[in-house]
């Protein structure tokens, strides 16, 4: 589905723990669901109309969920001026939306490998959506979520995963819930177990870049296929500004997070 630019209205702004919030929007226009066919990992560029010229460019967010009735949601955390302004949005506020953009994760399949979803921080949405889709297709048993954060408050939307019956392993840096330490420690153990038992696995991961670097190193070391959903600064989101270059191995030194990604094969990404 090619991207379009459309207007949406905020219908809900729900605060979660840890400063996270879920912004739900409804696209304008009867029967219009521009994001209806979104795949996990695809993203939208969001720009509140109220920004005028002060905050110039839209911000990129992975889609948390999208429905055929035109509603869709994103998970945010207030970091900079843009997300802080979005945290103060109310139902009825207008948003300019561009999307769906980028290439998402491959689907969960009945005869494919078990998918290990490795999430950290605001990297949850694409993996949350992957789990939702798999569960809806009766394939919840084909994936496992490994979800890490600083502390218990940093882990959100756990009820959804529970309701879908998705096996979820938590890790926190302070040990307040789940395993103490980085989620990649749990991932290393899980890979070891799978390889001992001859279980076919692949990794789908999204989160802070240091976490993705660790996931990549682990996957390359252990010979496991890993798909990384990356985040880069971007002004447009559709392949024009060339701001979001990703260093890669191959013919050209860079590919683009917005159009070639944001999901990349870990083997392709050229990180030292």
């Amino acid at each position: 589905m090619p991207p379009t630019q459309f207007r949406a209205r905020v219908t809900d702004n729900r605060s979660l723990t840890g400063g996270y919030f879920v912004l739900t929007m409804q696209s304008e226009g009867a029967g219009s669901a521009p994001l209806g066919a979104v795949t996990p990992g695809q993203f939208v560029m969001l720009r509140p109309e109220a920004w005028d010229r002060d905050l110039l460019n839209p911000r990129a967010f992975s889609v948390l969920d999208a429905y055929p009735d035109g509603t869709f949601s994103v998970l945010l955390k207030a970091y900079g001026r843009g997300t802080t302004a979005m945290k103060a949005m109310h139902p009825g506020d207008a948003m300019t939306v561009t999307g769906p953009l980028g290439q998402g994760f491959g689907p969960t399949t009945a005869d494919g490998p078990t998918q290990l979803l490795v999430a950290g921080g605001v990297g949850l949405p694409p993996l949350h959506l992957q789990a939702r889709r798999a569960a809806a297709a009766g394939l919840g048993h084909k994936l496992q979520m490994l979800y890490g954060g600083r502390d218990a408050d940093d882990l959100v939307l756990l009820d959804d995963l529970k309701a879908w019956g998705v096996d979820t392993r938590l890790a926190t840096e302070d040990g307040s819930v789940g395993d103490k330490g980085f989620v990649t420690v749990a991932l290393a153990r899980r890979i070891e177990q799978a390889q001992a038992e001859g279980e076919a696995i692949e990794i789908l991961s999204c989160g802070p870049t240091p976490m993705l670097r660790a996931v990549r190193t682990l996957a390359l070391d252990r010979g496991v296929t890993a798909w990384l959903c990356l985040e880069e600064q971007m002004a447009c989101g559709f392949g024009v500004c060339l701001g979001c270059a990703v260093p890669v191995y191959g013919e050209k030194p860079y590919r683009y997070c917005c159009t070639d990604g944001p999901v990349f094969d870990a083997r392709e990404v050229r990180w030292s």
């Binding site: 991207p3 379009t4 010229r53 839209p58 002004a235 392949g239 500004c241 060339l242």
Partner: protein, 332 residues
Amino acid sequence: MSAPRPTASIAPEDVDLSAPFGPLRLPHPVMTASGCFAYGQQFAHFFDVSQLSGISTKGISPSPRMGNPLPRICETASGMINSIGLENVGCDAFLSDKLPWLAELGVSVWVNFFGEDMASYVECARRLDAGRDKGIDVLEMNISCPNIKKGGIEFGTVPAVAKELTRRCVEATQVPIVVKLSPNVSDVVAMAQAVAEGGAMGVSLINTITAMAIDVRTRKPRVATTYGGLSGPAIKPVALRMVHQVHRALPDLPICGMGGIMTGEDALEFIMAGARSLQVGTANFAEPIAGVRVRDELRTLMAELGIRTLEEVVGCVQPLEPEPTWHTEPPT
């Protein structure tokens, strides 16, 4: 004395937006700017690109370039800094893969180009001349990109060098050359004068302004090359001032004005400062159809103000006080 300002509004359909620009007859003044529209195809998802009067392509060099390391962009107050590094497909791939699609649109195709030294500028102009009968209307010579280390900052800052470079490129092609000038100079009029003497058909004003932003937490610059080019509404007042200065000094030299144009009112400001055509740049990132909206808003605003043609208002701005004698430095 100029005619008194008309006050009676007219119907929008009575506004004639046609924009003569040197030998070109543009249906309206609003184009899109180099580096902000790629080679155009991505925008066809969003709107009918042929509604623009023209497109200035991503800057083309004789050979492909891969661009700068990351981070390449950051946002600043009402603007953004970029350091993309003139990444482009190169002359040959442009002519074979990109130009045919652009030529089909029927818009004015301005091919922005540059080289790393004088010889490669001339080579680029000569090779692009092959597209003269295949849709290229203008070669927009970039002598001002801050994101190229090799080659000369002097192309964009030393009038005699810019004149010689222009002269040699004009000799290498029959396509009219418009020179995109750098704002990073103390006397933009001298630069415009020099390239006009070198044979430029017109000038584009302005390119990005050399700029910097710092992340105080990491104590590092926000773009990998330390300095980048500032664009967006933040630079509009500077751009207007330069368009006005050049128009005052060289009223017959066609000026394509740009720098933070987001609305029809911004566009009319540039026209009143002396621009005969316009380019919308950074606005395309947030809003792909920005150029067409600007055109529509310009028409509505001109109707409201009773302006029938661009010619009535190009460079019409009148000083509030007797003409200031300073050009680049404010009075102390």
